[in-house]
């Protein structure tokens, strides 16, 4: 197990290196020049060149890359070209918001998806099963950003109420903070619950046909014991895989949710930086999110060993 862990950690290094190169190059390949955008129509030649020098964008690309990497290795992510704010400071301020949203979203999607999936499988071919499957298809079909707009706009029109509040950090007022985040988490989580529910249902149906489940029924164990003690744990393995694959979406998909619900997270910050061609911000945040996604996938992989004792890593 230790060897496996070391191997996986070491593999992260070339992966992250590749990410740095890709992100660096792709940003510079996108049409549109950050210097011209900052001057937006008043691009005098000397001013353009002066600003380019000031921002360090006049240097050869490989020098810019090495300077960025050297800062990255020292933990210095640089400063925003537009606001001059430290990216580390901005990230530290905004990432907890996105992380909290992602965790709440996972809780909602797992709770909803697993719950409906289990119910659907256990009561197969009943009206509960059909209702659950319809709900899952709807959750899959509805774009979450469309749902988010409806949740914000429709109550405002008909009930003069909308789930938008000025953000308060968790450490300042946990109750207010949860009130602010629960609606975006519900919207985002319900839309992500669709695939979870369908996978859970299929997995449960398969597990219920296994010999050890038949044995449990034959021994006269109550239904609750058979389902919760024996079936669910084994049925969860594919669900964990799904969650692992969707982690990047929980983090990256927060862009639109944060914009609609006006949450000061990393998603919206990244999106604005992308539009403005704020190279250091986009590059650094991409790196951090990539590293985080790799780490979370590692945790997901190791959770398999917990769920299925037969799995051992070498």
């Amino acid at each position: 197990m230790r060897e496996y862990l070391l191997k996986r950690v070491l593999l992260m290094v070339p992966t992250l290196f590749l990410v740095t190169v890709l992100v660096f190059l792709m940003m510079r390949m996108i049409p549109g020049d950050v210097v011209l955008q900052m001057l937006e129509g008043y691009a005098y030649a000397d001013s353009v060149e002066a600003l380019r020098r000031e921002l360090g964008l006049d240097k050869p690309m490989h020098i810019q890359y090495l300077e960025w990497m050297s800062g990255l290795l020292r933990g210095d992510l640089g400063h925003s070209l537009w606001t001059k704010e430290s990216i580390v400071v901005e990230f530290a301020r905004r990432f907890p918001v996105t992380l909290e949203l992602a965790l709440l979203t996972i809780i909602v999607s797992v709770t909803f998806g697993v719950g409906v999936g289990v119910l659907s499988a256990v009561r197969q071919e009943s009206w509960l099963d059909y209702a659950g499957r319809v709900v899952a298809i709807m959750a899959l079909a509805m774009p979450y950003f469309w749902l988010a707009i409806l949740v914000v706009v429709l109550p405002a029109i008909y009930f003069r109420w909308t789930p938008l509040w000025t953000y308060v950090p968790l450490t300042t007022d946990p109750v207010e903070n949860l009130k602010i985040l629960i609606f975006p988490a519900l919207v985002f989580g319900v839309s992500r619950a669709g695939p979870v529910m369908r996978v859970m249902r299929s997995s449960m149906l398969e597990v219920q046909r296994q010999d050890y489940i038949r044995t449990a029924w034959a021994k006269g164990l109550p239904e609750r014991g058979v389902i919760f003690k024996h079936a669910i744990k084994n049925a969860l393995i594919p669900v964990v895989s799904i969650l692992g694959l969707q982690i990047h979406f929980y983090l990256g998909g927060s862009v639109i949710i944060e914009s609609i619900f006006r949450l000061p997270g990393i998603g919206h910050f990244f999106f604005e930086a992308l539009i403005r061609r704020d190279y250091p911000v986009v590059q650094s945040i991409n790196m951090i999110v990539a590293a985080f996604a790799l780490l979370l996938n590692l945790i997901v992989d190791f959770s398999y060993a917990y769920l299925d004792p037969r799995i051992r890593y070498r």
Binding site: I30, P31, G32, D33, V34, L36, Q37, M38, L39, E40, G41, Y42, A43, Y44, S47, W82, T83, K84, E85, E90, R93, R94, I149, V152, V153, A156, I157, R160, W161, T162, L164, T166, Y167, S259, I260, F261, R262, L263, P264, G265, H268, F269, E272, L274, I275, R276, R277
Partner: protein, 553 residues
């Protein structure tokens, strides 16, 4: 000619100054708000207290010289002051009133046609924030600020004709121009450009981007900036116009999504949306039925939208092709379909919201005016055939599809209407970052379309857009006869003579179709009913709208 102009305008300036002194001095001495309450409706007495709340996007930064975005300008208008200003909401005759009024300069005079002396108010204090700590504003601050603007700002083209700024004494500053420069006072009054800043804040913080560095002499102090959440302003207790503002503060809530902003307005969580309080017709008209308690006022805001073409390359270097494009647009139908039949049909070259400068197309020779407001498909086809395109031609249309409604519909209408005369358009949507740094700067192939940044000085719509080498000259126009007139209006200090030249320019441009202007609808100024004195005004100048506003609930 310039000296005779100077001799004629001096008495006018002295008269304006005297009248301004008679109006302003008594409240300054007595500290009364009564004079400023003259802007309130009959029977309404302004009340002190309360916080104004608005929903708007987040500004890219706060330094008024390091961004040309309208949001730092609006923030700057709350925090900083200028030498001169436009009338505040309670002083103005209409939202279009751009009379030059004293601000930090209590009076000014032209010594000659290239030298203006500004006499500063005494006792005006900067906000009491370190490192400035509430010290008095002096002439050196004006010199520093104007020179910083001329050195750093993306708008500094507007100061090309300013030669230098000199400090005469602590309360007197002289601005010397290279030539007589008519737009000078309007540029000094515009919050886009010439806010007066304290040098020690830049020395300490490097620039004016941080909330701690936003130190001015304006009616509001930037108290706190929670990035991504809100900006909080509080009333400046030492503001030199005693009695103002009425409210205790302003809360600018960052709200990136447009529908979310309107929802906040519907539910009473904010008092108005956007720095202007404006909504497009498509957003405001449904609100009138669902929220009839809100206050609505519609007017023509300072907007301009156009087709812009590469007039230096085929096919649009041929005047017949440009005229054909103009005649292909059914402007009245666009207004009916997109703007509820109300608005301005001919929005250029001088926008409808500058009525003091705009020449009514009815006063232009109809044979020329038809290219501004006419619609004639057959004539358009005939012109194209004459230009060598009997079967029409293909052209891309570069644009940004993310502009607010009804811009997306305008692009689609353009494709449809132009195809009917043989101009086959292929839409080329561009993401904003790409659009604003390429197409918007004039780097595009053949044809583009979109809204244009509005300004408050007619020179920006003429010289800025038509003179060769100017960054806003997206169409690469170069017309020697026009160039002479553009220079002449900039150097004519007599307002009446200048107006005459500007009229001539509009007559000259009527049939040139260097840009084809499209009709724009009215904007709706919408706010909560308890927000009184919140005045509509053209331009990106939030202070004018809120300085005499009060909350009555």
């Amino acid at each position: 000619m310039a000296r005779r102009s100077y001799a004629r305008i001096m008495p006018v300036f002295l008269l304006v100054t005297a009248v301004a002194a008679l109006i302003l001095l008594p409240p300054m001495i007595t500290g009364g708000s009564i004079a400023f309450a003259q802007g309130a409706a009959a029977g309404e007495q302004p009340k002190y207290g309360g916080i104004i709340r608005l929903a708007e996007r987040e500004p890219p930064n706060l330094d008024p010289h390091l961004s040309i975005s309208f949001m730092p300008q609006n923030i700057g208008s709350l925090v900083y002051s200028s030498l001169v200003r436009f009338p505040y909401g309670h002083e103005q005759k209409s939202p279009y009133d751009l009379t030059i009024m004293p601000d930090l300069a209590e009076r000014w005079e032209y010594l000659d046609d290239k030298t203006v002396v500004f006499y500063l108010r005494q006792g005006v204090k900067f906000h009491n924030k370190p490192p400035v700590n509430g010290r008095e504003l002096k002439a050196q601050d004006v010199k520093y600020s104007l020179e910083r603007f001329a050195a750093k700002s993306g708008f500094r083209a507007r100061f090309d004709d300013v030669d230098r700024v000199e400090v005469v004494d602590d309360y007197t500053v002289k601005v010397i121009t290279k030539h007589p420069f008519a737009p000078l006072l309007a540029q000094l009054a515009s919050p886009s450009h010439n806010m007066i800043l304290p040098k020690e804040a830049e020395d300490q913080y490097g620039d004016f981007n941080k909330a701690e560095a936003a130190i001015g002499t304006g009616p509001f102090i930037l108290e706190r900036y929670e990035r991504g959440v809100k900006l909080t302003f509080k009333r400046n207790p030492d503001f030199y116009l005693k009695g103002l503002p009425y409210v205790d503060g302003i809360e600018w809530q960052m709200t990136p999504e447009a529908s979310a902003r309107v929802s906040l307005l519907r539910t009473g969580k904010v008092d108005f949306v956007h720095t202007t309080g404006l909504l497009a017709g498509e957003e405001a008209i449904p609100l009138q039925s669902t929220n009839p308690d809100l206050k609505f006022f519609k007017y023509q805001s300072l907007n301009q939208g156009m087709f812009y073409m590469r007039t230096d390359e085929p096919p649009f270097n041929d005047i017949r092709v440009r005229r054909a494009l103009s005649l292909a647009i059914n402007r009245q139908a666009w207004m009916e379909a997109l703007d509820y039949g109300e608005g301005c049909i001919v929005t250029g070259p001088v926008p409808c919201a500058l009525p003091d400068w705009r020449l009514d197309p009815k006063e232009i020779d109809p044979a020329k005016a038809k290219y501004l407001l006419g619609f004639d498909r057959e004539e358009a086809k005939r012109l194209l055939a004459e230009a060598g395109y009997p079967k029409g031609f293909n052209t891309p249309l570069f644009h940004h599809p993310g502009y607010t409604t009804p811009w997306p519909s305008r692009f689609e209408l353009a494709v449809d209407e132009l195809s009917k005369v043989g101009i086959r358009v292929e839409l080329k949507p561009q993401e904003y970052g790409q659009y604003i740094s390429t197409t918007y700067l004039g780097n595009f192939d053949k044809l583009a379309m979109g809204p244009i940044t509005p300004f408050l000085e007619v020179d920006d719509f003429l010289y800025g857009v038509f003179y060769p080498g100017q960054p806003n000259n997206r169409g690469r126009v170069n017309d020697p006869a026009l160039n002479e007139m553009l220079i002449a209006q900039r150097r004519e200090l007599d307002p009446e003579k200048r107006k005459s030249i500007v009229d001539d320019i509009q007559r000259y441009l009527a049939d040139k179709a260097y840009y084809v202007y499209i009709p724009l609808g009215l904007s709706y100024h919408v706010h909560q009913p308890y927000l009184k004195g919140f005045a509509p005004k053209i331009g990106h100048t939030m202070v004018h709208r809120v300085i005499a506003a009060w909350i009555d609930k």
